[in-house]
Symmetry: C2
Amino acid sequence: MARGKFSTCNTCQNLNRLSKTFEDKKFHLKNLIQNKNRLEKFSLKQEGFFYDFSKQRIDDILLHELFDLARETRAKELFSKMASGKIVNVTENRAALHTATRDFTHDTILLDDINIISEIKQVNKEIKKISRKVHNKELKGSTGKPFTDAVIIGIGGSYLGCEFVYTALKHSMDPLINLHFLTNVDIDNFGQIIKSIDPETCLWVVISKSYTTTETLANLNQTLLFLKNHHLEPSKHLMTITAKGSPGDDPSTSGLGAFHMFDFIGGRYSVTSAVGGLPLSLAFGFDIFSRFLKGCHDMDLHALNAPEEKNIPLTAALISIWNSNFLHYPAQAIIPYCSALSKLAPHVQQLSMESLGKGVTSDGKMTDHQTGVIIFGEPGTNAQHSFFQLAHQGSPFPIEFIGVVKPVYNKDQAKSKGIYNHQELWANMIAQAKALAIGKDHENKAKLFTGNRPSSTILINDLSPESMGLLLAFYEARTVYEGFILGVNPFDQFGVELGKVLTSDIRDQIRKKNNDDKTVDFNSLDPATKFYLDTLFKGSL
Amino acid sequence: MARGKFSTCNTCQNLNRLSKTFEDKKFHLKNLIQNKNRLEKFSLKQEGFFYDFSKQRIDDILLHELFDLARETRAKELFSKMASGKIVNVTENRAALHTATRDFTHDTILLDDINIISEIKQVNKEIKKISRKVHNKELKGSTGKPFTDAVIIGIGGSYLGCEFVYTALKHSMDPLINLHFLTNVDIDNFGQIIKSIDPETCLWVVISKSYTTTETLANLNQTLLFLKNHHLEPSKHLMTITAKGSPGDDPSTSGLGAFHMFDFIGGRYSVTSAVGGLPLSLAFGFDIFSRFLKGCHDMDLHALNAPEEKNIPLTAALISIWNSNFLHYPAQAIIPYCSALSKLAPHVQQLSMESLGKGVTSDGKMTDHQTGVIIFGEPGTNAQHSFFQLAHQGSPFPIEFIGVVKPVYNKDQAKSKGIYNHQELWANMIAQAKALAIGKDHENKAKLFTGNRPSSTILINDLSPESMGLLLAFYEARTVYEGFILGVNPFDQFGVELGKVLTSDIRDQIRKKNNDDKTVDFNSLDPATKFYLDTLFKGSL
């Protein structure tokens, strides 16, 4: 992909103009942030959410042009279309209605003459009912014991968002049901999980929209064998989250019930549907899940209604585009100064890289501009002791710091060097953003910091369900806005198809060999495939 | 950093020549891998370890020149110097002797007239002794109960490598003592850990070479308060891993004992020292740790003795340099098709990014060439359902696949689509490498795969301690070779210093405010720092 040369597609034309404005600028963050009003002008706030982009390498004029870009690409109009159920996933001819799953404002959104709000409410009602039955021990395992654990069987979007929210919330509340995530087709993922559960008190929640996901069905089969070996009744230990009418939406196989997910919600946007709803309600109760939805809805309303210049996810999307397409940063790190948010980066990694990692625009033209970038991250201060050496002195990449104003822990706390641990955490977060921006000269070049390295800082109040909702919906809306402005479809993922086709060919070969070990060999395959399959069957190098 | 233009330093001169050889080449992997002998020529093997670089974008001529580069930079000679205790960490005037911690070959390595092999053996003897005492319940907590858990208090290199090995090994064996990692100064990291331990049966292992690491000492203070509140005797619940003569190397504070780590081993290379030795011996017994060391030593001997063209870590280092400096890939993904290796990428992320993320050469000149790149990764097949969309159709980055020939799980296994889960896992791994390389044409550009995306594949036999040793030492040696060939010092980390200085300033402000809340304010600070500190003290946005 060319860097800094935009030619072919419409988006490229828009980006060209901005590129020209930038060409003459040679500013350094250490100077930019000297301006006393910088923070005020380059930050946004809405109830419970603060976004500081004052340490990004932009000035008023560039920012103004970026907002023009958002207007010209009609980003807000597209967002509004999305939320009202229009076909925004153009390559797959579908709506993208994740915002409807937490819509406390509308009673009706029609899609093909069906009111999907009432469909969603119906699913949530069932989730509320069954999770309550599990909690009050009305529903028990097939040997009569109440449930203590649930294993979520799903991969990618079927678990990453839920895992982020579950991990965060269990810092502030003890789960009523402990969740485990059986995601990988690796048999050792299964082997490790069964060490930590009691089969008699364990629920298994199978999540697959199509009910054809290879990994998930393989893990389901392994689970059915496990239940059988433990003389447990699958119909009393399984639940299913799947599309209406899928092979899993069948009373004979869906166990305790099939909870519907919808065609108009993609996996990576599905946390607020039954995909997150059932596991999180089992873990913490439906009321907690509902509070989480409320936080999402608040951010959705802001993303939908705030004018461009006040719109946090839209502004953040523009900053991302600025960093990738003009400053040519190939990646972005997400660094929450909060261990409870340790699973946020893996979630946003999928959300963003799968949504934006495209080579074509929505109208089918190959792009010249940068689309998605690499997203990665670990909690701070840990990251400081891991890869921040490169952030400070190696090839730079923008960083998104996230601070949580109030920690959960409220018992006795020790001071070190005169301050509390949470204060130390914040002192580090504040200092890192500043150090990256200003740098430091030194005659010994090994101790020189070039500075001018951009970062944003997000603040949320706490680790409450509402705050987690704000954070989740912020990243969803930012991703969608980035897609709309870059002119790529943030809802499809054709890039995963080729691997599936080639896997299927190899699977056929393995199956043949499994069925007839003696006469089948791999000699007709390409040398690499043959070598790997021979090694696999031999069982050692 | 300029891309593709090498001018100032010696390394740049060497890289220039290679760059010229490459300029005329326009090859595509789908053609390169057609060659029947490709795999044989572009792969290396040593006992228990296989490295396939046949899907890298190089040919014989370029490979030949890369090996010349290794010879010209005297990489092997430097490695040999390193292993014999010469000063290779030139900026800090230190040796780098992590290989000595698993040296089963030599009885003597002299450093400043001290035989460090016998010093290391002495520490290991003490580790063996105390872990045995814990296991046979000779050593108990201050209320007389045997130990069941140990919390490792350390950050960065003091835990990442140990966490990788612990996580991997506990798939195949049940820990005698469960480990927990208290790393972050975030008080909620502490809060979460104490939920999962019984204070009376818990050991706390404090790891800090200098015994001045802020986060670690803050967590130690918090731990001491916790022990006091539970009426437990710190001297019977604490162990210390620290440098001889550090403030922690004091019988009055070191609890059950101070186990020495050495000046000549940096944190990110310290897994095989007491830093990994004590925790892993507590978890699985010293014999298991010793088997792990044996695996490391085998790889060390190979890295030291194998000629350039047969040397796996050296070849892998050249491939990394090729990808970053000539093909301009800004990152590398590590994708083990193995959930047990989920903590490998975070470890290598630190190891590589902290070692190589430099802006200067060892002799103090600013570099024009690319040094370290971003390292990130998640296990496959999970990664396929997360960020592989971008890998296939967005901006490309090289991928290192890792396959484990034999899984741990050996009970009843179900088949799906005619094959076992472990076979499905491998089918996917093989298919992904191939799909990235060959691509696929399609008239619908959304379904087009450009291919020519490079990957390597590593195979190990199993999840045994020996195999984990091979893997760990491979990444260490590769990193060191990369540093030597690129001409940067892989052992220092001055890039973390500026943040520490600025944190200290902010800490002073917070301490003053803690001491005198009413009259102290933050009005004299820069507006951003003032805003964040005001918010922190206010307790909400």
